[in-house]
Subunit: 389 residues, 2 copies
Amino acid sequence: MKFPTAILAALLLSACAAPALRGTGDLGIVIERAGGSVVVVDSSARAILGRVEGLGDLSHASAVYSRDGRYAYVFGRDGGLTKVDLLERRIARRIVQAGNSIGGAISQDGRLVASQNYEPGGVKVFDADTLELLADIPATFGDGSRRSKVVGLADVPGNQFAFALFEAGEIWVADLSKPREPKVTKFRNIGSQPYDGLVTPDGRHYIAGLFGEDGLALVDLWQPEQGARKILANYGKGQEKLPVFKMPHLRGWAVAGGRAYLPAIGRHEVLVVDTATWQEVGRIPVKGQPVFVMARPDGRQIWVNFAFPDYSHVQVIDTLEQKVVQTLSPGKAVLHMEFTPRGEHVWISARDDNRVVVYDTANFAKLAELPAQTPSGIFFTSRAARIGF
Amino acid sequence: MKFPTAILAALLLSACAAPALRGTGDLGIVIERAGGSVVVVDSSARAILGRVEGLGDLSHASAVYSRDGRYAYVFGRDGGLTKVDLLERRIARRIVQAGNSIGGAISQDGRLVASQNYEPGGVKVFDADTLELLADIPATFGDGSRRSKVVGLADVPGNQFAFALFEAGEIWVADLSKPREPKVTKFRNIGSQPYDGLVTPDGRHYIAGLFGEDGLALVDLWQPEQGARKILANYGKGQEKLPVFKMPHLRGWAVAGGRAYLPAIGRHEVLVVDTATWQEVGRIPVKGQPVFVMARPDGRQIWVNFAFPDYSHVQVIDTLEQKVVQTLSPGKAVLHMEFTPRGEHVWISARDDNRVVVYDTANFAKLAELPAQTPSGIFFTSRAARIGF
């Protein structure tokens, strides 16, 4: 059998049409909420590289990254779990693992992906390579006949996951050192209706916000024998019954210089808390009801976005001066913010203006506007190297 | 012109012999000190992927990473600056930029690579893509006729570099926002003979160790108008004139939970310092004279290696218990340690046993031994996302 030169050239070309080699340290994705797609972005070039479609219902979607930074695991609201290949810009694997899901996490060693589910309530743990189900942890409580919604799932050192059970009022820590034999430690009676949770950047403290009462529940994961305790008893809606347009996201809580910066619920304030004592030490007035309160990686600035009707603004708090030093208007309906790994830039999604805006965090200059359809969450691969994301 | 099938197959194969696509988030290099080479490693597979040779004199070599994680910049003792492509495992570029050099840094935005030089004394700044020289900052001092050795170079937010001048007794901060027009702020009379320096993980405090007197010099980079001040006046060789087998590396200093863990000079101790007050709050006895004192990324453990004659051991301090909880013997002449990004493993180089040993940090189990020729520094790509590395 012989081949003419033209066919040979075509064969050579198609055989080598693989994407170019490149590092993955400066890649990321932007969730396109309405269309069930993500765009792959390059934070060095400040450019969109391409779009991956077919991810299902991406309202309230979030993502974590494989240890090598090549794959994003995208958790959809419809229980879809999609492994996206950022280099080839295609879906590598996809499963629908629950009826109603609210995000996930990846284990410290990168080998396990966990999803927190509303329906059926519980946590499922998958092999990060194959998405094979390895462990199913139903959130049963009380007499064992009911299952609770799971919220606030976060990875913890030691290949553990911590999460909270909304109806049960419990915090669980699951040790997945043997992935098919999870060992679960349960903290009971931690408070009424935990609605979200986070782990501090050092992986030591797990904190759940309470919807059914004021205050937060805290577990020192280094000293679990001390059990859960209540902190910030005045944190919450309080006596005044303020209208709350959107519950803030706890995952965004910022810890910087020994202080945590928390979104007040219903109030136009950011609370400042001493992380040694977990006592409130100050309040900073801001433009609206805070949703995400996020520290620039060096901790010098805290960036805040807001619930309706102030959701087209972003404010910047200087942590040395402890006050707002800048107000920006990136576009209509700001849903999320993401810092570049060392914090020189921030990417902000403006859903209703269909764009992502990039700012220089040193001088607040607008560096780029990138088109995206109803953008919401922005997630860079540097999250793979962080605890509690 | 026609091609037979066998030739076609060979052509297709060679046309596509490019390295396979892969993420770079779990890559790294190990310096092979004696041979002027590095091995490229995969921290997920715990495997050596290949060797790159021809890097010159790699005694006391160090490395930083490009923003995308694809390229390592290796600083050799002979003034060589080599850009190594981890994916293709070859030298992408190499220059000899000084006669005697002692390491370097990469700017916050990843666009500038800086080298600190002994001879001629100063800092040179290069384009990270091309290694073109952009700025030359001679370390002239006094009447302008002499140049000082430069030590302790570190990146600082705002595309700045901080460094210390050994003979001059000065700390300089160079703002490279306009790379060809560096603006240098000089802190004079900071103390006698600064021999190394570091910036805290939040990029706020620059600290230089002093060889000519006891104590350290500290600059609050958020409040440079306050100037430099002395801290820990008893830190140093002190009155007793203990034999010092090797000056500790300051870059390894660990900051965890509001405390810094410092190698005592000449003493078999790790000093514990409160980073709010910069006062000493404790001392932890260890097996030998500490060289590197490094925090596991979550801050729960501090790992310590030692100068001769105790240089074949490593000890682990538990920061909750404030004492040594483990002693390991990875091999002869332990020179460096590197944690995986989220801290589940640590890689340790044992120079005289020609191996790198990987441990599980949770249970101290030995996971792997990898062959390397006279291994010294180990550097993972996750450094690209960290401040002050």
